[in-house]
């Protein structure tokens, strides 16, 4: 009996990463900007997305959304009120979305073809840990944080904030009532992800939305398609 070492050097999430790379290529070919929204449950991802879809649609953009939850299609019904095509993904206990779930739900979605979209939003399952490991092929990962959550959230969940391309602070309209320390929150986000774009928003009042929409248009590289 002899023992030997066999080198593997294989990514544990290789299957997901390969699938995500395929999705990313198809998004690029179709010219659709794909965003992955991640936060804890209750941060206000759905309200923020409702407002974003409504505003983009009002400006003539072609938008759609996939929304992940363990159970119920409550969020899909809320988002569909914007008039955008929305599809619910129920994970039935799984704490994150993966590339295979995205592929499956994009296939056989009668009202949506990627090439017919300008923006596709993926609202992940509310969870600040697991979604950060799963690439969905998105161009922009957005980490959201509400003023009710505590300014040290980025320090407590560094992986998620570090892997994000943009950060959105939600519910700014109640920041005073929550004694939200804005400077501290901005500092903490920057400590974990130096130089990240941060948007301070309220889906209720619309504060900060113009800046956010301008960022989306710029990220898509198609300023001429929308009049902001």
């Amino acid at each position: 009996m002899t023992t030997r070492i066999v080198e593997l050097r294989r990514g544990i999430l290789k299957k997901n990463d390969e699938l995500a790379a395929g999705l990313r290529a198809s998004y690029t070919t179709a010219g659709v900007l794909v965003l992955n929204l991640v936060s804890s449950p209750g941060t206000g991802k759905t309200a923020f997305l409702e407002r974003t879809l409504k505003e983009l649609k009002a400006r003539g953009a072609r938008v759609a959304a996939l929304v992940g939850d363990l159970e119920t299609d409550n969020d899909a019904r809320r988002l569909a009120a914007s008039g955008a095509p929305v599809r619910q993904i129920n994970t039935h206990g799984i704490c994150h979305l993966d590339a295979e779930m995205i592929r499956k739900h994009l296939d056989g979605w009668p009202e949506v073809t990627l090439s017919g979209l300008d923006y596709l939003f993926i609202e992940n399952v509310g969870n600040l840990v697991c979604p950060s490991s799963y690439d969905l092929g998105e161009k922009i990962r957005v980490a959201l944080l509400s003023v009710t959550e505590g300014e040290d959230k980025p320090l407590k969940y560094p992986t998620l904030f570090n892997s994000a391309d943009a950060a959105v602070i939600t519910k700014m309209d109640i920041s005073e009532a929550c004694c939200f320390d804005r400077e501290l929150a901005l500092r903490n986000i920057n400590e974990i992800r130096p130089g990240i774009r941060i948007f301070e928003t309220s889906a209720k009042t619309g504060a900060g939305m113009e800046e956010w929409l301008a960022y989306l248009v710029e990220a898509r590289g198609g300023a001429e398609t929308l009049s902001l």
Binding site: M1, I12, L13, H96, N190, E191, P194
Partner: protein, 124 residues
């Protein structure tokens, strides 16, 4: 808490690797599986180990050890022009000059590095 699906994926990958070995080495037993896990990989080594025994049962990996090699975050500091290892994941600043660093060179790894196997008996 997705460690169970990670462990399932590790066991599958190693089992596939064993199946691809030359005939003479068929029936090899896995003694050890070594992982490289970055400090920012969102994975808890203890949770991986907890799932290990359960998932590997009844596979060629049964009874093997799981060794998790944790890798610190390494950033590239533009001011210093050098890579630097961070002590923790609470502040992404160069430990030498204190400048914020967004260029990460290590820390998100989540991979099977190698396996140690004991060759099975060669069939005559």
């Amino acid at each position: 808490m997705h460690e169970l699906s990670l462990v399932t994926s590790i066991v599958e990958t190693v089992t596939e690797t064993l199946a691809a070995l030359p005939d003479a080495q068929k029936g090899a037993r896995v003694l050890e599986v070594r992982l490289r896990v970055g400090a920012l990989a969102s994975v808890i080594p203890e949770s991986l180990e907890f799932c290990w025994g359960i998932v590997s049962e009844g596979t060629p990996l049964e009874g093997s050890r799981l060794v998790v090699n944790l890798l610190p975050v390494v950033v590239h500091c533009e001011s210093c022009g050098q890579d630097a290892e961070l002590e923790g994941v609470q502040s992404f600043r160069c430990p030498r000059c204190g400048e914020p660093c967004s260029d990460m060179r290590q820390g998100r790894e989540l991979e099977i590095d190698s396996i140690e196997i004991e060759d099975g008996e060669v069939k005559a």
